[in-house]
C-alpha cells in the first residue's frame, strides 16, 4: 500500500473522545447536520410511531440476516446477505434517529434499539420470522423487499423531507435486494424437482405472513401526505410477485393469513414467540453494560 492508502486508516488507531465500535456512546448521529424539525401540520406523535415501525422492520430483519452469517452455502451468498443486512441496518439507524427527533424527548437510535421491550417494537411479523432453510430466506426476502420497495417508492415523495430522503436512498438499495431474491426464487423454483418442491414449500410458510403488510394502519391514516396507505401497495407488490412466480414455475400459495392475537399483530406490538429470543440476543450486551465503552 502507498503512504496515502495507509493514511485512510490512520484515524482508526487514534485515541479520541469518540468511543468507536461500542453501542451507546460516541456513535455519530446518522442524521447529523440535517434539519430535525417536523413540518407544520404534521402530527409529530404519529410521525414518531411511523418512523419507529419502519425502523423496527429493518432492524429486526437485519438481525435475522446477520444470524445467517457463517452458515451460507457459498461465500458469495454470505457476502450478499451481509451487504443486505448492512443496508437495512443503515436504514434502521436513520429511521430510529428520525423517530427520536420527532418524539423530542432526547431518545437516540441506541435508546430505541436496545432499551425498548418486545411490546414496544412495531415491526411486522414477517421481519422476525426464522428462516428454516435457504428457500425460506429467498422467498421471505423477495416478499419483504418487494413490499418495502413499493412503500419507499411512495415515501420518497413524503411531506416529511427527512423521511423522503431516507426512503429515496433506501429504494435504490431495496431494488437491488429484490432482484437478488427474485433471481434465487427463480433459480430454485425453475431448478430441479427437489429445489422446486423446497421453494414451493417455503413460499407456503412465508405467504401467511404477507397479509399483515397491507392491513390498514391507523398511524399512517394520521399522516396524510407523509405516510403511504398500506392497502395501496398491494397491486404493485402482487404484480412483482406474480412475475417472479411465473418465471419460477411456482403457483401462488393459497394459505390463510397468520392469525392475529385478539385482533393485534406486529404493528400493535404483538409478536410471535421467537421474537423474544431475537431481542434477547440483540439487546443483552447493551443491557448488561449500559454505559460500556471500549
Amino acid at each position: 500500500m502507498t503512504e496515502d492508502e495507509f493514511a485512510a486508516y490512520q484515524s482508526l488507531s487514534e485515541e479520541t473522545e469518540d468511543h468507536r465500535w461500542a453501542f451507546g456512546t460516541g456513535f455519530t448521529d446518522p442524521l447529523e447536520g440535517i434539519d430535525a424539525s417536523v413540518p407544520d401540520g404534521v402530527d409529530a406523535a404519529a410521525l414518531t410511531a411511523y418512523c419507529l415501525a419502519l425502523g423496527d422492520d429493518a432492524l429486526i430483519y437485519s438481525h435475522r440476516l446477520q444470524q445467517w452469517m457463517t452458515r451460507m452455502p457459498e461465500l458469495e451468498e454470505e457476502t450478499a446477505l451481509a451487504n443486505i443486512a448492512l443496508d437495512l441496518l443503515g436504514q434502521a439507524r436513520m429511521l430510529l434517529a428520525r423517530a427520536g427527533q420527532a418524539e423530542g424527548r432526547g431518545r437516540r437510535e441506541d435508546d430505541l434499539a436496545f432499551f425498548r421491550d418486545e411490546h414496544e417494537f412495531r415491526s411486522v411479523r414477517l421481519a422476525e420470522h426464522t428462516d428454516a432453510d435457504f428457500a425460506q430466506l429467498a422467498g421471505r426476502l423477495l416478499v419483504f423487499s418487494a413490499w418495502r420497495l413499493a412503500l419507499f417508492g411512495r415515501l420518497a415523495a413524503s411531506a416529511d423531507p427527512v423521511l423522503a430522503a431516507i426512503a429515496a436512498k433506501g429504494a435504490n438499495e431495496l431494488a437491488y435486494h429484490r432482484d437478488y431474491a427474485a433471481q434465487w426464487v427463480i433459480r430454485l423454483g425453475d431448478g430441479t424437482p427437489l429445489s422446486h418442491d423446497k421453494m414451493a414449500a417455503a413460499l407456503g410458510v412465508i405467504w401467511p405472513l404477507a397479509d399483515e403488510l397491507f392491513r390498514a394502519d391507523p398511524v399512517a391514516a394520521r399522516l396524510p401526505g407523509v405516510a403511504a396507505d398500506p392497502a395501496e401497495l398491494r397491486a404493485e407488490v402482487d404484480a412483482v410477485l406474480d412475475a417472479v412466480l411465473g418465471a419460477a414455475t411456482l403457483d401462488r400459495p393459497q394459505g390463510a393469513p397468520l392469525a392475529r392475537v385478539a385482533g393485534k399483530a406486529g404493528r400493535d406490538g404483538v409478536h410471535t414467540e421467537p421474537f423474544g429470543y431475537l431481542l434477547a440476543e440483540l439487546q443483552s450486551v447493551a443491557r448488561a453494560h449500559p454505559d460500556a465503552t471500549w
Binding site: 496515502d4 457476502t79 420497495l149 433459480r187
Partner: protein, 171 residues
Amino acid sequence: MVTAAGLAAARAVAAAVPDPELPMVTVADLGILRDVATEGERLVVTITPTYSGCPALREIAHDLRRRLAASGFDEVDVRTALAPAWSSDWITADGRRKLSAAGIAPPHAAPARSGPVPLTLTLTLTRREPVACPRCGSADTTRTAAFGATACKALFRCESCREPFEHVKAI
C-alpha cells in the same frame, strides 16, 4: 474569519481525503463530498453516504476533521446530506480512470428512477450491459456475485484473461 483563499485551501484539503474502502480515489472523485462552505468562523463540510449503512462515512468525517485541523482549520462541522441520494453517476471522470487503473471496473450510467422500479429477472450470470475487464479490456466478462466486499461493489470474472475483478455497481 475564513478568507476566500482559506476556503479554497480548505476545499483542496477536503477534496484530497481518500475513501477508506477505495483508497485509490478521493471523496471528491466519488461525489461523496458535496460542499465546503463557511458559516461565520466555522467551516462547514457536507458529505453524503453512498449506501445507507456505509460504515466508511464516519471514518471519512473523522479524517476530514483531522486533516483540516492539521491545515489550521480548528472549527469544522461535518454535516450529512441525504437528499438527493448519492448516485454512482457522480463519480468523476478522473475517479473512473483511477478506479480502472486499480483494477476496479467503473459503473455504467445509473438506471433512471421514476415510478415503480422494473424487476430484473435475468439470472446472475447473464449481464445486462457488458462490463469491460479493467485489465485486458475484453467485454467477455461474467458477473460471479451481485455483491462484493463493500456495499458499492459486485464481483466479475474476465473470460478472456480469466482474472477476477470488482465492479462499482450503478445506482
